[in-house]
Symmetry: C2
Subunit: 415 residues, 2 copies
């Protein structure tokens, strides 16, 4: 076992001993692929998470190098700490400087037909990465995972994968550089995928997945072996129709709760002759009710869905968005609001691109010049056109277009 996994497992073993991978230390936030909960109104302590997971912080130096190498201003998700942590991205940047190829990999667990705003974050960012680096991306829809974890029929999980593919495509991915796949179907289309899964499954013990994911003896065997399926796309040979036999390095933009899968993969990949996948980690998109939990599709009132009407968006924000403002107008004018816990402000950091305007809003809300109702109005007017545009783009995605993105084929890519 390499040092990285030993350390991670050792670390996690100290913090996680119960079956659900919850932290033993009651003050710690809970962050794993199935649970994200913080006790603080300000949400997850991401600096602490970086230390716990052993990743690297995205700082000014990182951003400066990123801009130097790409020759472009970085996305506001990077400028504002929404993608806040990484693993080995410097290696990818060096690779890019040397005109060597790499590819992007991200994914989604299709547990619901209704995707919400938070689900868009990794795809908006992945699309931006695809544009600035001009590289291929593979997008895994883990319908098998959702079937194993949720009380959902297999056929329904598979159907949701194809529904969600439409929302993903609507983010604007280049069809000549994008391959989207449902695990249930891809497994039966490409023997190399299963071969790589087997290779990974032979490298990872139950003890390891117990330490990393908190699996227990009463978990079903499908869950226990699933991590190999999320790991396999990191190996370019899982996609011979795109990469041939070339060993192409992989960069994964994802929310930090998915890191355990790739910590495991980073241990395994070198043993199979591949470089460790690099990662860019995002924070979570908070629930309307506050940053203690992330936005969830299973609770209608915590989420703004991509199918919501302008009126629904307005009502949800006005009714549910947790406010950092004071109890009365007078008190607010006097003491000012708290942007650190205010959900409307938080959402603007994700969706309002104009840095100067955002800075002004923060200043005005903190001073009390801007009232909560006014802040909510700005958010509503920011979100309504974004969701409307998404709906218009999605409406154009026919089954034929989905088929195109999901067909095994050569991409516009030389390696």
């Amino acid at each position: 076992m390499s040092t990285e996994l030993s350390d991670a497992v050792g670390d996690l073993n100290i913090e996680q001993t119960n079956e659900n991978g919850k932290c033993e230390n009651e003050d710690d936030d809970i962050v794993d692929p199935w649970n994200v909960v913080s006790k603080s109104q300000e949400g997850i302590d991401y600096d602490k998470l970086i230390r716990r997971f052993g990743s690297s912080k995205i700082d000014q130096e990182f951003i400066a190098r990123f801009e130097k190498v790409t020759g472009k201003k970085v996305h506001h998700f990077l400028r504002r700490g929404i993608f806040f942590s990484h693993r080995d991205v410097h290696t990818i940047l060096t690779h890019y400087e040397q005109n060597k190829p790499f590819f992007l990999y991200t994914g989604r667990g299709p547990s619901s037909g209704s995707m919400h705003l938070g689900h868009l974050i990794p795809f908006i960012f992945a699309k931006w990465l695809q544009d600035i680096f001009d590289v291929p991306i593979v997008i895994q829809l883990t319908d098998d995972e959702k079937f194993l974890w949720k009380d959902i029929k297999l056929e329904e999980a598979n159907r949701l994968a194809y529904e969600n593919a439409k929302d993903i495509i609507a983010c604007g991915f280049d069809v000549n550089k994008t391959f989207i796949f449902s695990n249930m179907d891809f497994m039966g289309q490409n023997p190399e995928f299963y071969r790589n899964i087997l290779r990974i499954e032979k490298c990872v013990t139950f003890n390891q997945v117990k330490g990393i994911f908190g699996f227990g003896d009463s978990d079903v065997i499908g869950k226990i072996s699933f991590p190999a399926i999320q790991a396999a796309p990191c190996l370019s040979s899982s996609f011979p129709f795109i990469f041939g036999k070339a060993k192409v390095p992989c960069l994964i933009p994802c929310a930090i709760d998915q890191d355990p899968y790739f910590r495991m993969t980073r241990d395994v990949a070198p043993r199979l002759g591949y470089s460790k996948p690099a990662l860019l980690h995002s924070t979570f998109f908070p629930a309307l009710q506050g940053a203690q939990t992330k936005m969830s599709a299973s609770d209608n009132n915590t989420a703004i869905f991509l199918t919501d009407t302008p009126k629904q968006i307005k009502n949800k924000v006005n009714k549910h968005a947790f406010s950092g403002g004071q109890a009365t107008v007078e008190e607010h004018r006097e003491k000012g609001g708290n942007c650190d816990v205010d959900i409307s402000y938080q959402y603007l950091t994700f969706f309002l691109e104009d840095d100067e305007r955002l800075e002004q809003i923060k200043k005005d809300y903190t001073s009390g010049a801007l009232l909560t109702g006014e802040l909510k109005k700005i958010l509503i007017e920011t979100l309504q056109p974004i969701v409307k545009t998404h709906q218009e783009n999605r409406a154009k995605i026919t089954d034929e277009i989905v088929r195109e993105y999901m067909t095994l084929r050569k991409l516009n890519f030389q390696c």
Copy 2:
């Protein structure tokens, strides 16, 4: 959990507590998919195994019904107790009486290019079953299992599957009713296979495979989920190109060490809307050195390979076949030999079809009229033409013919 598995697991938990599924009771034989060892020279106590596994003994009544239903004399493997145990075969026979369809399923783990005589037993019997019932058979080559369990390259395990397919085809299976598949390749050719594996994986916990197979925390996750892959072919929907959407019952002829897989499957199948697979269990083909262990391809001196020359067969039998005879000719004439431990006699029960002649040999050897050298000569002269004929048949099996048997296609079958 249904009663069957609860009982079986409960039972096994009492007897097996260590990680390799070895029996706690030191007097017990060890029988699991990876180990077959007896402390007795007469080999495994099969009656005890029937009680331990909770299967049914194949007795005269069973054989009488089998012959009545099929209108044919049963194979000498059944008459002589080589297939000695079953589960639910009466249901299959009733099904057959009612002109309802069923199918056969058996398999092989391709760990060696050199198959030996013992490996032929399930296939000789399965071919006979195919002939008398006129039903389709699916034959699984578990190259994935061998890769996971053995120190062998993935590509080599896959290559051996295709090599072994030639020996299997040489047994005379009807190409219009036989589908042979390598797991590594079939997984990538047919999404329904993975879908059924997922359904099974969702029904079985680590606790259950721990109880049934003796898996431990330090086993790799591929091993832990593998039982679902051996279980999936019991569900006819894994082969939509053969069975369409029909739920066709399954009969599995196999050595009894494979029973744990199907005990597990018999628990799961009804929960997925299928009938429990029926089973016909064979004894093990003993090693040349004696019945304490089964013949193994990994020890050259314990096995007669299907590639051995007539001279090699002669030498191996003369040199290694454990004898139940006495130390000197005089003593043998006086006391007689012991057929219960004599390997040459044991092998004749497998390969000498003539009941009367076998009975006479037993009588003569037991009385001392037949000497060990003479008995060995009869065995040599029985095996040499069988192996020669197999070699001639195998030589005719081209890669093209293998491809035909292994192509996903409709079989000559109505359901």
